[in-house]
Symmetry: C2
């Protein structure tokens, strides 16, 4: 069908074409489906939106991507037809029906995902298929290598090391401490982190409260060559762009298929050129995994790590309650600074960070087996770790604030929760605590969050403070309080 | 986050808001996700698109739906925040995890689908969950009643009857013949049909080659009261709007979960007020279902039909090859007219239509058991059926063309396929024949398609014509020929 071009004055990040509903009906295409636009020998596939008015039957409104690609302008005529399904749609159907995909088929799917050739619905079908039917070891290996091959690959001088936590534990902000200790010990750590997915804050959200976290790969290289390490957001680096898209789609229902979890973590570690990788798998009641699944994941991470030439070790840690006292960007950075400055340090956070740092120092050969803990401890208590933290934050255009400065930025609206009776804390539910912190405004509002005074096992007297909820907005504080009353986050 | 409104000069059929990529990152929302826009006490949920330029960090471009709903205009400030997941997303996750949904949960999902509250990806997850985990009888019943309750319901005077084929057989254009016979016999038949989904043409595509098929429900009522029946497209009537959306999403991978197939058919029959429903289930090698599945479907259709107070009967028919000679809109309407005029009538099509008509006449009590065939035959051979067909086509603003007029409109580009050797036709594959007809331009190009000279079992001499491919475009004819050479549609 020949249609006249109208210009949409925006770049949508992918080609978008709007048809009049009559035209769409007659072409038998619907919102979210694909059409092919062609002019002379050029053509481009676009996602369809449908408009009831403002576009006539003989017109198609197109985004800038299409104008540029076909070298056309408003008023030109283009040939428009329904686009055929990409081959990867057949492979997704195959996987949905429980069959095993080969390497090329997986690669085609991953390539189509990064090239915007698959719609959100198609990617959702792929996620659902992998979630329901799982992947074999061969499929998972192909998924990892495909994800790496469609992204950028960096390489840094020195002994390049990395740590990763599978997440799910509230607070648990060990990364800035581990990075500061290990980089001070001489390791190179190009640490890239995510923003909050299911928690109240990711490392990127936390660091962003005092420094920049979005850099190009060129800027990243400069930071690493200057200070040896970084703590940046992985979302803009394009290290594993297929993973970035899959994660968006998984978030919709909170699905987390194992093959994609493995591929997500490993593809990013391989992409930044890490040789030594420590993976923290917290397990327990309200953690992401129980002990059985944790042991299974450990085996799989180590298996695929070896396949891709990584020195990879998994440690299982206690994930029964939050680690540290603050939950939310500024409350977490305060905990981190307290540990690094060794002033009123939350001991559970300090101990876990020292444990992880010592494991990574030993794994990477920075010290002998059994000597990691004393080395890490020395670096922390001597102030070397804090000094390294300061240089990294400054290299990321930030400045380490004083505790007082942080406290001035905490949410103005707050509410103490007191023990209704004498009690012993039996459990603190990570998911529920995270949900309350989110409803208080985390991670968008850096000063919102929860401060926990108690740990599991503590005895609390009637009227004693259990926790404080902070929020930058009065409404959100009330929402968080309502949620607190509805769900039993502590018992 | 407060953002300044920019106006998008189109209605997208649902609220669309475009954020700058920086703003989207900071809000942690991605393409296809939802944001909440509010002004004073009004708010609206919108799907997000992301733009790299033309919108600044402090702006949001919104479609007309949003401007109208919030009563705002360009330059106003609105409050924008990530929207929380709709409750139905949790139910979809529940179904994905293999749990059973209750009536209210299914109703919430269906309501959110029609209210545009679910994204394409979320609907895809629902389809995948039902495809993989199936639905119980209670769930299926809830699905049918929810689909009916969110759509329009019509009612017509007289004995309201309907027929439906589950499809999958090439050509097989019995509907116009059955409707003409049964309406001539005094039944009321508000027949709504789909356009092609997996075949070369749906009844709506075929009738559209000689009449209008898109009407409002008001227009539909007028047609029925005037001539007693119609053959229109169901896509614009809003009879089962949830089904229309689910079908779009199923099409993406060609999934056809059984519960949705049952709900799709029955919800539309209930919505038009049918009391007597005949369902044709063709089975066989290249049909949609084999005999076992056909018998199972029959049981289920009859079970749910009874639940909803329908007099429903399923007939299993031979689906091993196309029914009729023409495949494609104009070629099929020619077969239909040949049967109705009793001139050079394709006997397989005539016999199947007479069989279905007789079953429906008996089911609806228009004649005694055993008398349906002779009644149907009399109506057909006397010309009453053709006369009724003419009145319906005219009521739908069309005119029944002569065979010659049809032939003048067939694709100018055509190619005869001759038998390469003496042979006996062993099989004709419906799916492959449909695929070839589609690549020749069906159903968009009304004059494209395939004319079959042979049936399964026929002996063919070397050089004798087996079929002719018609196309409105030279390129498409070549594509269809290429495809014909690649796949064995006949053997």
């Amino acid at each position: 069908m020949k249609l006249k071009v109208k210009e949409l004055r925006f770049m949508a990040g992918r080609p978008i074409a709007i048809l009049n509903s009559w035209t769409a009906n007659h072409m038998n295409v619907h919102v979210g489906e694909r059409i092919n636009l062609s002019k002379y020998s050029d053509d481009i596939v676009s996602i369809v939106d449908v408009s009831r008015d403002l576009i006539s039957n003989n017109e198609v409104a197109v985004s800038q991507e299409i104008l540029e690609s076909l070298n056309i302008r408003e008023g030109d005529e283009v040939d428009v037809s329904p686009a055929s399904k990409p081959t990867s749609a057949f492979y997704i159907k195959k996987k949905m029906d429980g069959l095993v995909l080969n390497k090329d088929e997986i690669h085609t799917i991953i390539e189509d995902i990064v090239n915007n050739a698959l719609t959100e619905a198609e990617i959702a079908y792929f996620v659902a298929a992998v979630y329901k039917n799982k992947m074999t070891a061969q499929e998972t290996e192909a998924l990892i290598s495909s994800m790496v091959s469609v992204g950028k690959r960096l390489s840094f001088p020195g002994v390049v090391a990395d740590k990763h936590s599978i997440g799910g534990i509230a607070a648990n902000r060990t990364t800035p401490i581990v990075v500061s200790i290990c980089v001070a010990a001489g390791l190179t750590m190009p640490k890239t982190s995510s923003r909050a997915i299911t928690s109240a804050a990711g490392t990127a959200d936390v660091i962003e409260s005092i420094a920049r976290v979005e850099f190009t790969t060129e800027e990243l290289k400069k930071i690493i060559s200057k200070v040896g390490g970084c703590m940046v957001w992985n979302g803009v680096l394009g290290l594993s762009p297929a993973d970035d898209k899959l994660i968006q789609t998984e978030r919709i229902l909170g699905l987390d298929p194992e093959a994609q979890l493995l591929a997500s973590v490993l593809s990013k570690k391989i992409a930044v050129g890490s040789k030594y990788v420590l993976i923290d798998i917290p397990f327990g009641e309200s953690a992401k995994v129980d002990k059985k699944r944790a042991l299974d994941l450990k085996k799989k991470f180590e298996f695929f790590g070896k396949k891709f030439g990584l020195n990879l070790k998994c440690v299982l840690t206690n994930g029964e309650q939050p680690i540290g006292r603050g939950i939310g960007p500024l409350l977490e950075i305060r905990d981190v600074i307290r540990v690094l400055k060794q002033e009123d340090s939350p001991k559970d956070l300090e101990n876990k960070a020292l444990f992880l740092a010592s494991e990574l120092l030993e794994l990477s050969g920075k010290c002998k087996k059994g000597k990691g803990y004393s080395l890490a401890k020395e670096i922390l208590t001597s102030g070397k770790a804090f000094h390294k933290f300061q240089s990294i934050i400054e290299a990321q255009s930030g400045k380490v604030p004083t505790i007082k400065e942080i406290e001035q930025r905490l949410g103005k609206h707050k509410k103490d929760i007191l023990a209704p009776t004498n009690m012993k804390i039996k459990s603190i539910n990570n998911k529920k605590i995270n949900a309350i912190a989110s409803s208080a405004g985390c991670p968008m509002d850096k000063g919102s969050g929860i401060y926990l005074y108690k740990h599991v096992g503590d005895n609390v007297k009637k009227g004693e403070k259990i926790l404080t909820i902070y929020s930058e907005s009065k409404n959100r504080l009330e929402e968080a309080l309502d949620l607190y009353k509805k769900i039993n986050a502590l018992s």
